[in-house]
Symmetry: C2
Subunit: 338 residues, 2 copies
DNA sequence: GAAACATGGCCACCATCTACGAAATTGCCA
DNA sequence: TGGCAATTTCGTAGATGGTGGCCATGTTTC
């Protein structure tokens, strides 16, 4: 509530002397400084944020545009980012776009308002319209997760996890163990996500000169139920592979449940690796591809802090390597129980 | 980037006319207004947030003090609160206290800085020190989750879930089904949480004139492992109850796992209700007490918005009623399988 | 005695908003 | 049509709280 003016009056000095004394910059005699600091403490002085940021053009806040506020994936990102932001005395402001492009555009304009000094932008759909708006704002923004530069040039700072490589690694893991009949349950090839992951899988097969058997590849929609269906088809076809790479944990769990019901032993009869390394995967001892969301967050925040510090930096893209969290479902199998 | 001065110059009017035209307040001739609005659009004018909030003393932000940023409980709260904040054009700023009292105090001072217009404050430990700081700030703050007014007077706006009643309901549910030997696994009685929940359990027994059998009450530390241990003790004692109320889902799941390993059929031999209604509970078909975190968030945000609107309101406390999410583990049992 | 340094007040600035009052326009009646 | 009041229009002048440049004054040092 108290301002430097009131302190100045109480101390019998001018407001600017108070400012200097409290900021520690410029010349103030030691006794005056002590007096001012004492008064400030007593009067409960706290500098006014709005005034300071009007002058300094820094708000100490970073906007977090996320499409889905109740998704653990994003929360882990936020957690990671917050760790780094804290070190720089910055705070995340949550802006929830609900995946709605109109809201997204509206939130982007908040940036120009000085609502925040920068933004970490996550979108389901990076397109010319919203990326142009980001560019137009001229403010520091880091795109994360699935932005792809249209012409391969780094127009933005960007952090993403190489899901292609995650799936590739999982398949390679099985191949290295000597499996040749490896199944895949993925998402729709029409989506970028679906395509990217499947290519990773195909790449591993090709690298190892393993012929692709189309019957072993099923498509789901990332729900547990679709995982069940896909697994059931494999069983019905009597083409149960030796190992299965699944493009997310939920589908993998669906598949596991069918196996359990039908006496297919995991990992003895069928080894499985899922993707996301969700809490459920940990709980159910499902091997999974670790997407390191916190690492995304940390890197995005780091890039952003650096850019706020120095806007002239070259634009950078950070490609994070996923890792395998190997658990029971992909253990080198002893002979099947049944 | 453009300011009202530049627009004023472009339109050949004074800055205050621009302000009036854009804000829609005061008298501006229709043609000038139209011109100014057109220019503002063309020049990409967005009002400066810092300047506006310096003048208006509103930042459109609400601080969210939370002890643990990656706890599903809290981010459900955040989700609920965000819904309400959005309606009022407010945004949540996350302040992570890590349960550290010193950090908590520091963050509280952010409030006075005008960092936010109000705060939703969640603490592991509400004590005279931090509540005094809240009071001293004179800013709108809503305490949630486990604050208890020391003298029963409403010094603060406050939202909490009646965990006492949640546990009581769970016990009552079993009692109504005719069970008389009901076990309880809770937290340490030295903690407020532990005490509160256990009282709810005892209350249900007393109400129904059921004698308490101390051998059926075990203490854990809210981890799965401690749930396992507690259940194992019940088994070793050969005092397996008919039903079990457990003070959180993790411990309940630990108990379930022991039962599964040792052939105790759930719910045939033993019915279980946990607490939190976590994702895991849903996944494992564990009955649970629903703490309605989103509802806490919504109510906290609502109280806060109302208080920011009108600081003179009476202080209010909202006590939310938990509900039972009944699933398989508490189904009226057919005869046990084995 | 002059240069070097320390001290602290004054003022402009950041961008917006608003109270006030001057100026312009309109309406109304004689 | 002139005159007066009511109404509309719009600019001037702060105010918000903090910061930093500039400069006048005071002190020390050689």
């Amino acid at each position: 509530m108290a301002t430097i003016y009131e302190i100045a009056r109480a101390a019998g000095v001018s407001p600017s002397t108070v400012a200097r004394a409290l900021r520690g910059s410029g010349y103030v005699s030691p006794d005056k400084r002590a007096l001012i600091q004492k008064l400030a403490r007593e009067m409960g002085y706290v500098p006014n944020h709005a005034a300071r940021s009007l002058k300094s053009k820094r708000s100490q806040k970073v906007l977090f545009l996320i499409p889905d506020i109740y998704n653990p994936f994003y929360f882990r990102m936020i957690k990671g980012a917050t760790e780094v932001l804290e070190e720089h005395q910055y705070f995340p402001v949550l802006c929830h776009t609900k995946g709605d492009p109109a809201l997204e555009m509206k939130m982007l304009s908040n940036l120009q308002q000085g609502f925040g000094d920068g933004m970490i932008f996550v979108s389901f759909d990076f397109n010319p319209k919203n990326t142009a708006a980001v560019n137009a704002s001229g403010c520091p923004v880091v795109l994360t997760n699935n932005y792809q530069s249209p012409d391969g040039r780094d127009a933005f700072d960007c952090v993403f996890v190489d899901t292609f490589d995650g799936i590739r690694m999982a398949a390679q893991h099985f191949i290295s163990r000597g499996f040749t009949r490896i199944g895949y349950i993925g998402g729709n090839i029409a989506t970028q996500t679906g395509r990217e992951r499947f290519s990773g899988f195909q790449h591993a097969l090709q690298q190892n000169h393993i012929a692709a058997d189309q019957r072993l590849f099923k498509v789901g929609d990332f729900t547990m139920e679709s995982g069940r269906r896909a697994m059931q088809e494999l069983i019905d076809q009597r083409t149960i592979p030796q190992a299965l790479v699944v493009a997310n944990d939920l589908m993998a769990i669906g598949a596991m449940r069918v196996c359990k019901e039908q006496g297919i032993h995991i990992p003895g009869d069928l080894a499985i690796i899922g993707m996301d390394n969700s809490d459920l995967a940990q709980f159910l001892d499902l091997s999974s591809i670790q997407m390191c969301e916190e690492e995304i967050g940390r890197n995005a925040a780091r890039l952003l802090m650096e850019r706020i510090e120095n806007p002239k930096l070259e634009k950078r893209t950070i490609r994070l390597q996923p890792s395998l969290a190997l658990r029971k479902t992909s253990e080198a199998g002893e002979a099947p129980a049944g």
